[in-house]
């Protein structure tokens, strides 16, 4: 019998505020700000936190069941999630990806599975991901740059996919690769990072029920700037571990190289667990700014998912394995 133990992050289930409500609220803020430009102070308050023009063309709707462990914190609005992106394949500014990724074709899309597993080969993304099993999970998202969001992702536990692929007992790690195609991903024309983007997890991390392969956000297919058609989300780690537009999965015995670690090994580790006590060399990680909020809030150990993941690292020096 499965006994569900209530955990710290298992806050009561709350429905996501519908997207149109968020849009209406944003619109209200924009109008409000425009009409009171004279009253400077309140105008600044309303205007600063209003969003840029909404992105057009909503993606196809996805059927989901709601996961019971979702946080009941207010999700970040759809516009912010889809206009403020770190996706260097489409440019290094936060604003560039949504423009440069417009029209990025994600169908057909295949994912090659290789290495130490029984079921290797090339899979269509929708053979790998069963559209009937999608869950909506509202996770906290913490970027290494000290901003954060709350995102209603749509996906399938990575563990379910790993089990289907049947890794061999010698497999200790799972590695991911992003598409490398400078013609479709113009950011790859410059060697800002070593392309393609690569990321990886220890296999026991990948098997943790929180690790998610994501295909949607706010109940619809991922927009390309958010990593369509398939990306990784590991909510207790910094955002850069969440590799986007995955084309390859490989099981290996040794720790795979990871992009930001290659770029600056002293600043970005393989583990990249959210940890308020271990500073980035150039800034503190103790606090974060939740997008849409004015005051910074304290960053939580493992981004608030300690109960679920702390045991993965029980004998590790997290200062050394940052």
């Amino acid at each position: 019998m499965l006994i569900k133990v209530k955990k710290q992050s298992d806050l009561s289930e709350n429905d996501v505020t519908p997207e149109r409500l968020f849009k209406a609220r944003r619109k209200f803020l924009n109008i409000g700000a425009a009409s009171i430009t004279g009253a400077a102070l309140s105008g600044i308050a309303g205007g600063i936190f209003a969003s840029p023009t909404p992105t057009k063309a909503a993606g196809a709707q996805l059927g989901t069941t709601k996961w019971a462990g979702s946080t009941d914190e207010t999700p970040t609005d759809f516009e912010s999630i889809t206009t403020y992106n770190n996706f260097y394949e489409f440019g290094t500014s936060k604003e560039a990806p949504r423009f440069n990724a417009e029209g990025f074709v994600t169908s057909p899309w295949t994912v090659e599975v290789s290495g130490l597993a029984k079921n290797t080969g090339t899979f269509d993304v929708w053979d790998l991901i069963d559209k009937n099993k999608l869950e909506e999970r509202i996770y906290r998202h913490r970027c290494v740059e000290t901003w954060s969001m709350v995102v209603p992702w749509v996906g399938i536990p990575l563990a379910d996919i790993v089990k289907r692929l049947e890794p061999q007992t010698s497999a200790k790690y799972i590695a991911f690769k992003t598409l490398h195609d400078p013609e479709r991903m113009p950011g790859q024309e410059r060697a800002v990072l070593q392309w393609p983007y690569v990321e990886g997890l220890r296999l026991d991390e990948a098997m943790n029920p929180l690790a998610l392969l994501v295909v949607g956000v706010y109940g619809q297919e991922l927009p390309p700037q958010n990593g369509a058609p398939i990306r990784l989300v590991v909510p207790w780690k910094y955002g850069f571990k969440g590799i986007k537009s995955i084309v390859k999965i490989e099981f290996s015995e040794n720790e795979p190289p990871t992009s930001w670690n290659i770029s600056a090994p002293g600043e970005y580790g393989f583990y990249a667990n959210v940890n308020p006590n271990v500073s980035h060399p150039r800034w503190s990680q103790a606090k974060e700014r939740r997008i849409g909020e004015f005051l910074k809030r304290k960053t939580l150990m493992f981004n608030g998912y300690s109960d679920e993941v702390a045991s993965l690292y029980s004998n590790m020096d997290l200062e050394k394995y940052f």
Partner: protein, 201 residues
């Protein structure tokens, strides 16, 4: 036709406020994106550095045009650079950190890009305070010149501050660094040329 200096001065004065007007307009109309505080910080820092480089470009402009008017704009543009740098700092202290002095102090001590940023602000503050003509007079031309030589290390450190801040895309700070270097090289070449011509005479 000779343009009166007064017209140039007023045109430049309007120009130096345009970035601020743009920022306020976008802050009021929601044009600063999902993370407006970060956007304000980047924007003010960008313009502080740009105006510092513009102020440092006046001597090369004088060298090439052989006109005196560029130098007469130097104080205004230097003060503009200080104004944007101070606004950049204020945004960091007030809006970004919201007077969290413990964190700010840790930043200054531990984060080298913030340390050099603070040094730049301190230098620009001293230069701004000693910019009025009567203070320059009281200091004496030689001392004043020595003191205001500090604008060069300030410029170099401002470029370094930007370079150390970025994560991976160093293209922009490199461009600023190259422009700063060119402005310095023009001065060195000019000084060398003057020395030679003096010897020639």
């Amino acid at each position: 036709m000779k343009i009166p200096f007064r017209a140039i001065w007023w045109t430049v004065l309007v120009f130096v406020f345009l970035p601020l007007v743009w920022l306020i307009y976008n802050a009021l109309t929601g044009g600063l994106g999902a993370n407006p505080i970060e956007a304000i910080n980047r924007y003010l820092g960008d313009w502080a550095l740009r105006f510092l480089l513009i102020a440092l470009a006046l001597t090369p402009i004088r060298i090439f045009t052989k006109q005196a008017w560029p130098i007469r704009l130097r104080r205004m543009l230097g003060l503009t650079a200080f104004f944007y740098a101070f606004a950049h700092l204020s945004n960091y202290v007030v809006i970004d950190q919201f007077f969290d002095w413990a964190t700010i102090w840790q930043d200054i001590v531990k984060r080298r890009f913030i340390t050099v940023g603070m040094v730049v602000i301190l230098i620009l503050l001293v230069l701004a305070l000693t910019s009025p003509a009567r203070i320059a007079k009281r200091l004496g031309a030689k001392k004043w010149k020595q003191l205001h030589w500090l604008v060069y290390p300030a410029g170099a450190l401002a470029c370094l501050h930007f370079f150390w801040m970025v994560k991976a895309d160093i293209r922009e700070p490199i461009i600023y660094g190259i422009i700063f270097s060119i402005l310095i090289i023009i001065r060195l070449v000019e000084r060398h040329r003057k020395k030679l011509s003096l010897r020639g005479n």
